[in-house]
């Protein structure tokens, strides 16, 4: 190996180590602050490490700020959104890729148009709609709009296009109903992609902020990030408390990510290969 190549290799590892340090450090530091006692957290010279670790901040944010309630809300919303959008994206993505029907091109085009509409620009009429049907402050207000996620449909559609049509055609010639084909052949085929879409939507839903803040005005119905931002407005000066809140909000997603990395990364990658 030439000297140039060896320097390049060493440089690559060094560069990656610096980048990884830059991404991980802020997260680790916040976790560390969460474990500090009040004076240490706001000392003129910041500490890297809690010299007298304490759980007081974590206990405070959970007990005094009802973090458990928000966690439950986030869980319900993210899980329901995930399940619903898997069902919706699965069937639509499959049909758009592999079933011929009148208006297919139009529907495909509409789905692509949906991708290009900045959904946060729609919150005003959405709020009015939900207010009219008295569903503001209900989980439905978060679940239903999030389940209308065109990206999920596009991902499944692209994935199904990659699966040879012959498999399905054989079943059709056997005279199986379209529904049976879907259940017994298509679903197992697209399971990996669906799982990936599911995890992606779970994470997006968990982290969503603007619409949940608008739709959930009752404190007991708020999701974790919304509640965290509200607590932040009142207690931003309590560094330890806010650091604990931030950590407790991020940690579940990091764990979900680590556990489902395989599926999650797949959906991210598939997203790049569409159209």
């Amino acid at each position: 190996m030439s000297l140039q190549n060896r320097t390049l290799r060493a440089g690559t590892y060094l560069g990656l180590a610096v980048l990884a340090g830059a991404t991980l450090f802020p997260l680790l530091w916040v976790t560390s602050i969460a474990l500090m006692r009040a004076p240490e957290a706001a000392a003129g010279t910041p500490s890297l490490w809690p010299h007298h670790p304490t759980l007081v901040n974590v206990i405070n944010i959970i007990s005094r700020q009802h973090l458990g309630r928000y966690f439950f809300n986030s869980m319900v919303v993210a899980a329901t959104t995930m399940a619903l959008s898997m069902l919706v994206a699965g069937s639509a993505g499959y049909a758009l890729a592999r079933v011929e029907f009148r208006g297919r091109r139009l529907v495909s085009w509409l789905v692509m148009l949906g991708v290009l509409i900045p959904n946060q620009a729609l919150v005003l009429p959405l709020f009015e709609m939900f207010r009219t049907v008295h569903l503001v402050n209900h989980y439905a207000a978060l679940v239903l709009p999030a389940a209308a996620n065109p990206v999920g449909i596009v991902l499944v559609q692209a994935y199904m296009r990659g699966i040879p049509a012959e498999i399905l055609d054989a079943a059709r010639i056997d005279g199986a109903s379209e529904w049976r084909i879907y259940r017994s052949i298509v679903m197992p085929l697209m399971a990996p992609m669906l799982a990936a879409v599911g995890v992606l939507i779970f994470v997006v839903s968990w982290n969503d902020f603007m619409w949940p803040m608008i739709a959930m005005q009752q404190e007991s119905m708020q999701t974790l990030p919304v509640a965290l931002a509200a607590i932040d407005r009142e207690h931003y000066q309590d560094i330890g408390l806010m650091a604990a809140g931030a950590t407790m909000t991020m940690l579940p997603m990091v764990l979900v990510f680590l556990a489902s990395q395989r599926y999650y990364l797949r959906s991210v990658i598939a997203g790049s290969l569409t159209d």
Partner: protein, 432 residues
Amino acid sequence: MSTAFGRAGAVVALGAAILACAGCAHAPCGLNVWAIGSEADALERMVPGFEASHPGVSVCVQELAWSSAQVRLLSAVAAGDPPDVAQVGDTDLAMLVTLHALRPERQIANDFFRGAVHVTRFSGVSYGVPWYVDTRLLFYRPDILRRAGFDRPARTWRGWLRQMRAVKRILGPGQYALLAPTNEYEFLEVLALQQPEPMLRDGDRYGNFASASFRRALTFYKSLYEQHLAPRIDDRQLVNLWWEMARGDFVFYVSGPWNIGEFRRFLPPRDEDLWMTAPMPGPDGPGVSIIGGSDFVVFRVSRRAQLAHEFIRYMLADQQQVRLYELTGDLPARRDVWRLPPLANDVKLRAFRLQLERVRPFEAIPEWDEIMDGMRRMAARVAAGDASVRAATAGFDRTVDDWLAKRRELLARSATPTATSPRQSDRPTEAR
């Protein structure tokens, strides 16, 4: 794989059940009460006492967030579905009165702070019962002030300015005489209220910020930053203002009553003497300040008005007013309660007691919050040297006139019954 989908199906079913049940039956409420933030928590803890004295009545307290309370109340009124009783702050009252949503209230006590009652009145009729009150005044470091040669904070702008300059000389680098965060409007609002002319004119139809009065207030405000008596920072850049104040980074801070509790929460008891409160200085003598707080209102469509009034009466009894203070730090709206412990014994509360007698309400129109927010932005530009006082105030008047266009149109058609004589119908500012 079908089991995975079975599981997904189960999640959907569970989700659907939760969605469906979000509106499902609670125990029937004998009285619906909406309250905001920590006051809702406090109410919930006081409700059992009321229920004990009213057998068979169950009170449901619903908690709103400060940021969305107005939207919630408006939506509920528009939908014909408001609660029986609600805690209402600042501009919300003006809007609800405009909507004919509220019942006129009789005074249930004669020892309310006058300013607090004043702000519930529209065209001479009162639409709310003051629950707790709020104002802004000086928090300061008595020891540093003494080192600079002064016994107590000055009563006039001129004297105060002299004190701040003297204090600044004995402070270290990076330390300031005054903390006046540029993202808060209350301090400038107080300075402007201390002037003879109001901030809006012609029955709150037009902005009056180019007046000599407001320009005087803004010039004073600007000079504090120009002379480096106050840093140009917003409160997000503070890590912990109570420690910073204890360290001597700031000597004066204009703020509200909740900070008494916060100082005690963040500083150890031995540091109690490091901070004190004093009434606002004024242009030429003791200054007025703003009056804020929350009121109880009863909605017109409520069929339980009798019970609602009993509830309000219960919450305004001595014991409950003291309890509210203990739970939240909210200052009782009734003067007599201040003679009871622990309020009577607290030296830091005395300045609040004095200041609450010297308040001036602001213009009670729904646009007021937006106008104050705009004023804050305009003042920040002036303080940063990006615009002159004259140009900024003239430009801001045009903006305010734009915002008030619809109000003028409605007044012209006399579609709104709001009393409009300046400073008569006026309302306090936000309670937080």
